[in-house]
Point group: C2
Amino acid sequence: MSSPAKTELFERVARVGKAMGHPARLELLDLLGQGECPVEPLAAAAGLRLSTASAHLQVLRRAGLVTTRRAGTSIRYSLAGDDVATLYAAQRAVAAAHLDDLEPARRAFLGLTTNDPQTDPAVQEISREELLRRVRDGHATVLDVRPAREYAAGHIPGAISIPADELADRFAELPTATTVVAYCRGPHCVLSYDAVRLLTQHGRNAIRLVDGMPEWRLSGLPVAHDPAA
Amino acid sequence: MSSPAKTELFERVARVGKAMGHPARLELLDLLGQGECPVEPLAAAAGLRLSTASAHLQVLRRAGLVTTRRAGTSIRYSLAGDDVATLYAAQRAVAAAHLDDLEPARRAFLGLTTNDPQTDPAVQEISREELLRRVRDGHATVLDVRPAREYAAGHIPGAISIPADELADRFAELPTATTVVAYCRGPHCVLSYDAVRLLTQHGRNAIRLVDGMPEWRLSGLPVAHDPAA
DNA sequence: ACACTATTCCATAGAACATTGGAGGATGAG
DNA sequence: CTCATCCTCCAATGTTCTATGGAATAGTGT
């Protein structure tokens, strides 16, 4: 009954799902959502061997989710389009809505203690609109705690870049009069949570922007690019 | 470097992708997009053995994509929410946009000959808005060619139900003065293509509605439900 | 042309997945 | 109570996927 042509058609669509069906590949998509990147830094950030990361990237490429471009001696991977970032966000949303054990895992990973991010004593969040309001009124300093490469690939206009692992040594660069609004890669990135906790422990007013850079961009808000390659 | 908590978090999200990474499961999602349904008709429609279909449905259920409800002696499966239908549509869109061999496979399955559905001599399509306009002006008869069960679970208001396999015997029920606009399950369903070709061969004015029932519903347009269970 | 570097390819072993037929469970009908 | 129906669960098989370390490759810069 099942025609081969039908199976073949659904198999094509399934290739996309299959590619998004492995934790390592989802993490690579998460990282690529920040901007194009060579293989080696991707592997390092995801905690993968180089050959493993390369193999996963091939799967993503064959599924049409990422593309490559040669830049000098290295090969830069990037998402094949905004629709891929949107698909990834939709999958996260479905998982969050219908899987009972996702939110506990998320809280465990991010170091959250209470159920509601709005009432967590350690890390509170504001919306993108609220951030824009506070910046306009001069009450907020926007802090990008992602690695320098990702900041360079695109960041919120006016944001200061202090990668999370340098934050403890670079407090001085942050003004004390305003609230610091930290952001990072997105809802599954620990960097801004750690940053807000660190700043708060040192008596600063610090808060987190909901989501991260890809969601900012997908919302149609402006993105600043570093002129440096 | 890769924390177990991080892998665990991404694994949860990957479960959704993995569930959408098999052609049979995508077809089941496609069918469930028409409305809730017991296992046996699903298996029959997808061309699967009962135990195979059941196993796939368990995977979908564990991934949070479908839910079950007991109705007498049978168990009705349905999509866990509109977000699942949206995710499925997004995955189809990404596959269509970035996979070179999807469109050929689609055309082969649906029996299309030219690249552009608007110029295909056999099957032309109109938008949902155009359908509404024509119906309002009395120039169109809407025809639902899906199985009776799916029509009963939700259909375009005013549509006539003639399942595709009965169409050849039931021409008489269709008015001759208006154009027949046939619709079915969606862009990966062959029923309305076959129906339009059949009607056209018999000298009727027939045309296809773009996409199908789930996309109509997700567009926020009204859906009529059969009072019968 | 040379060597260098970033990345892919390869072979393999182990893990996860899909299919199948049949046994087992729950529900409603008689 | 027993039967019939509908579905799930199970165990076994074959298939596909993943990780790994090392070899191979392909552009680049000198």
